[in-house]
């Protein structure tokens, strides 16, 4: 993996983390105000979910060049 490609992956990871944490936080605010009587735990839950999803995406993105994709080949009886 070249350094420029690594830099692009890091940029994508950071942007993805910002969007996902913000989205989780926003949804947490909406649900906290509508259904959960302005409690704090929906905000923490949404932010944590967003962070976890971003981490998972980043992990998959960085491991992508090294993941081997194989397939099963049926043995043909001669």
């Amino acid at each position: 993996m070249s350094e420029s490609e690594l830099g692009r992956k890091w940029d994508r990871c950071l942007a993805d983390a910002v969007v996902k944490i913000g989205t989780g936080f926003g949804l947490g605010i909406v649900f906290s105000l509508t259904f959960f009587k302005r409690r704090m735990w929906p905000l923490a839950f949404g932010s944590g979910m967003g962070l976890g999803m971003a981490y998972s995406n980043c992990q998959h993105d960085f491991q992508a060049p090294y993941l081997l994709h194989g397939k099963y080949v049926k043995e043909q009886e001669q």
Binding site: V18, F31, T34
Partner: protein, 137 residues
């Protein structure tokens, strides 16, 4: 109990609402809240904000292009309606600080210092020993 009239808040008898109106009054707030929450969830789903990372990056870039002009237009509209004049702030100074180059240069400096540290320590201790020997003669 279950009659056609109920006591209102002022203590007077008032006709009981029909069943559909009672149901509407009881579920009105829940329907409004559910609509707001459902709309937020649908917006997130439609914009694919919780999807792959390239979609999120595109959404962030699009937001960065759309939000500042929208904020500016809204501020102009508020100025026109209220007659207030928002002072023009000067443009922020453009600071160029290459973090990557500084970090790399710092790492190389630290590693080169560590690599010459044993020989330098030997040299300085030898000089110090020569100095002490010369002073004690």
């Amino acid at each position: 109990m279950g009659g056609e009239y109920v006591l209102s808040d002022s203590g007077q008898e008032a006709p009981r609402d029909p069943w559909f109106l009672q149901g509407w009054k009881a579920s009105r707030m829940f329907l409004i809240k559910g609509s707001v929450a459902g709309g937020a969830v649908y917006l997130v789903y439609d914009q694919e904000l919780l999807g792959p990372s390239d979609k999120s990056q595109a959404a962030l870039q699009k937001a960065g292009e759309v939000v500042p002009p929208a904020v500016y237009q809204f501020s102009q509209y508020v100025c026109q309606q209220t007659g207030l004049q928002i002072p023009q702030l000067p443009a922020p100074p453009k600071i160029y600080f290459p973090i990557r180059d500084s970090w790399n240069a710092g790492i190389m400096t630290v590693m080169s210092a560590l690599s010459v540290a044993p020989s330098k320590a030997r040299e300085y201790s030898k000089e110090g020993w020569e100095y002490v020997k010369a002073r004690t003669k």
